[in-house]
């Protein structure tokens, strides 16, 4: 039995690197420090995996040799007039580097999951810029933490305890104790109210008045957290204050904040369902803090306004820097979507939606983004790696993806692999093979190899290299 420490967790953008894994006979038996999602991956990754290459013959997926699968993949890509190479967010940077070379060689479009996730954030960063940092800056210094359109309690479970509200830094202490006492006070209040209602036989269908006033805790000089969302999430229950924004009105709310930061008055009484007095108090807290951070998620990028919501958020934070120190960071989903952006950018100049069809990189999301290309049915072949678009893309896009020759490289059986024409099983990055990946704040960390993969499962990097080699042969190019 061995214990490996300092393991990086290959699940979400928090990319925790303090996981301790116990292995016995090449099987992971115990995981420490990981959240429920991370532990589930380490302990259960082998449940739905596939180990044999498959090729569709006469409508059925049948087992094939790896060589045959590689050769067919190369043929599909080399013959295609506008192939798409999609995924990349759950594999290593090393694999993505080979993928870019392959996309360039076959003159296709290469894109990663930003295209359905934080693509809008990137587009706005390209217009406005971004005032950001690494997560440690926040652990040490941030006394005001916003989560907007993001629910870290469920999606990035250890975010608060590792980096923000419930972490300990050089200049700021954890707000955990404050939260616990607030929690017990809330529970006590609830119990009392229930008891009173029972005794007085009060009609409980009448909802209690919501107290909109900001609680005392947000005015104190200590770490505080404010959550802004369309519904009261678990993260919102943990916060010092929760602002419920009317769905699809985040842009107006952000712009209203910007006005108040500039000391201008608003002509209206409420914005996005929030009274202006509340907004004025929140802006006072923003200006009065020592260092503030605004985390945002798909609540901004995928609600009405999309990239312009992020535009307003980036501009708000930029404006706040005139009054105090303020930073902003997108909550990236997959553990290496940032890495995919980073590698794409240094090799091609563009972070996603890169079109190599003319022999050099071109970039225009909406035109060269894979989800849009598929919605319009413009591609004629596809390679999907480290992602599951059949499960996640709009229906029309998924239909257009599977009606053309499709290669899927994945360690697991997924809806995409079930619909593919060639399936190549790969090793789990971060568990069975090593590599490099980037945390949501652009910090690069090593992915470890903890157990050996089945010998039919090669790392993504190797599979792609073999396909590239075969494409070179088909085109009679020296390697």
């Amino acid at each position: 039995m061995t214990i490996i420490s300092g393991v990086t967790c290959p699940v979400c953008g928090s990319f925790c690197d303090d996981i301790e894994v116990t292995i016995k006979n090449n099987v992971i038996t115990d995981v420490k420090n990981a959240c429920a999602i991370g532990a589930a991956k380490f302990l259960g990754y082998a449940k739905h995996r596939q180990t044999k290459p498959l090729i569709r013959k006469n409508g059925e997926l049948v087992e094939a040799s790896l060589d045959e699968a590689i050769r067919k993949s190369a043929q599909i890509l080399a013959d295609a007039t506008y192939p798409i190479l999609y995924g990349w967010s759950s594999t290593s940077c090393e694999a993505t580097r080979v993928g870019l070379e392959l996309a360039e060689e076959v003159g296709g479009v290469i894109d990663n999951t930003s295209t359905v996730c934080h693509g809008p954030s990137i587009l706005s960063i390209q217009d406005i810029g971004i005032s950001s940092c690494t997560l440690g800056q926040l652990r040490h210094r941030a006394d005001l933490v916003f989560y907007w359109g993001s629910n870290p309690w469920s999606a990035h479970p250890r975010h608060l305890e590792r980096y923000t509200t419930f972490s300990d830094g050089r200049f700021q202490k954890t707000a955990w104790r404050g939260y616990l006492s607030r929690l017990s006070a809330t529970l006590t209040k609830k119990r009392l109210r229930r008891a009173v209602n029972l005794i007085l036989r009060r009609d409980v269908s009448v909802p209690p008045e919501t107290d909109r006033r900001l609680p005392y805790s947000v005015f104190q000089k200590k770490r505080k957290m404010i959550v802004i969302d369309v519904r009261k999430t678990r993260s919102a229950e943990t916060a010092d204050y929760f602002i419920q924004v009317k769905p699809n009105s985040d842009f107006e709310l952000l712009q209203a904040f910007r006005m108040l930061v500039r000391d201008e008055e608003l002509d209206v009484d409420e914005v996005a369902g929030v009274p202006v007095e509340v907004l004025e108090e929140v802006v006072d807290i923003m200006i009065g803090c020592e260092l503030g951070i605004l985390f945002f998620g798909l609540g901004l990028t995928m609600s009405e306004g999309k990239l312009r919501n992020v535009d307003a958020a980036l501009s708000l934070v930029r404006d706040l820097n005139q009054r105090t120190k303020f930073l902003i960071m997108p909550m990236r989903g997959h553990f290496n979507v940032t890495g995919a952006n980073v590698v794409f950018t240094w090799q091609t100049g563009y972070p996603y939606a890169v079109d190599f069809s003319h022999g050099y990189p071109r970039y225009n999301p909406g035109e060269t983004s894979v989800v849009d290309i598929l919605c319009r049915g413009e591609s004629d072949a596809g390679l999907v790696i480290a992602s599951d678009p059949v499960a996640h893309f709009p229906q029309r896009a998924a239909q257009n993806l599977v009606k053309n020759p499709l290669i899927a490289i994945d360690p697991e059986v997924t809806p995409t692999t079930l619909m593919a024409d060639v399936v190549i099983p790969s090793a789990f990055v971060g568990i069975e093979t090593e590599g490099t990946a980037y945390r949501m704040d652009h910090v690069p960390l090593p992915l470890k190899k903890i157990v050996n993969p089945p010998n039919t499962c090669l790392p993504d990097e190797e599979i792609l290299r073999r396909i590239l080699h075969q494409v070179h042969k088909l085109r009679r190019r020296p390697n």
Binding site: Y82, G107, L123, F251, A256, D267, D311, D319, P365
Partner: protein, 272 residues
Amino acid sequence: MITLCPKRVFKVPVDAECISPDIFAEKSASEIAKLLVWEGNRKRTLGELFKIELQTKTESKEPTIQISGDLRRVRKIGAKMCTGKIVVDGDVGMHLGEEMRGGVITVGGSADSWAGCMMKNGTIEIKGDAGDYVGAAYRGSTLGMSEGTIIIHGNAGNEAGCFMRKGIIKIRGNVGQFAGMHMKDGTILVRENSEGRAGAEMLGGKIIVCGHIPSILPTFTIDTVTPKVKVDGEEVAGPFYRFLGDLTENGDGKLFVSQTQNPHLKPYENYL
């Protein structure tokens, strides 16, 4: 006059930057047929993909190009053109007239997104609808259309006139959200409704909405009620609420919104 017609249905995007009166000028039909186009990742010649006919004997300096057939996947028609005319019978693909400097493009059907983007001068008239980003800038750039006129008889999509610097966009139908996003100057006239957020982050210029708009951004302040607005020499009858903004950008832009079509904006009159 040169006529073009696709020889077949295009399944992948076709990049036809060479379809431009300046490039066709003083060329013979066979020379035109040899021009380079991209079909996906394959290099083709124009003659391989299009049937080309030269209608007049003399090769003109400012030719007219007429294109018929399914052009929805044909992009960059009229890009960078300076003179001459292009007439498209039906629908046409993205980037129509991108960076054009002069001449006229007329489209009988609808145009896909990025029509007239980064336009420097000239005229584009679309009888049908237009997609998103009409007259806009490239990603990351602040250089949207700078002169010229774009007329859309149908509806336009989102972010029309994004980062535009001058020029006029006239939309006879409805417009999507964020018309005039980040605009520096120029005019956008919308005869019917806007889906909202018109003039977001504008620095200057004029936007006129003659129909309904669900709300005005909180970063605009009401200035006056005016009976009419002048656009490109013609007078557009109001009455209009005139808002100034976007205040978060120290903007000097003017947003005119129909008074009669927007009774829900009446509370703003208290501030007059």
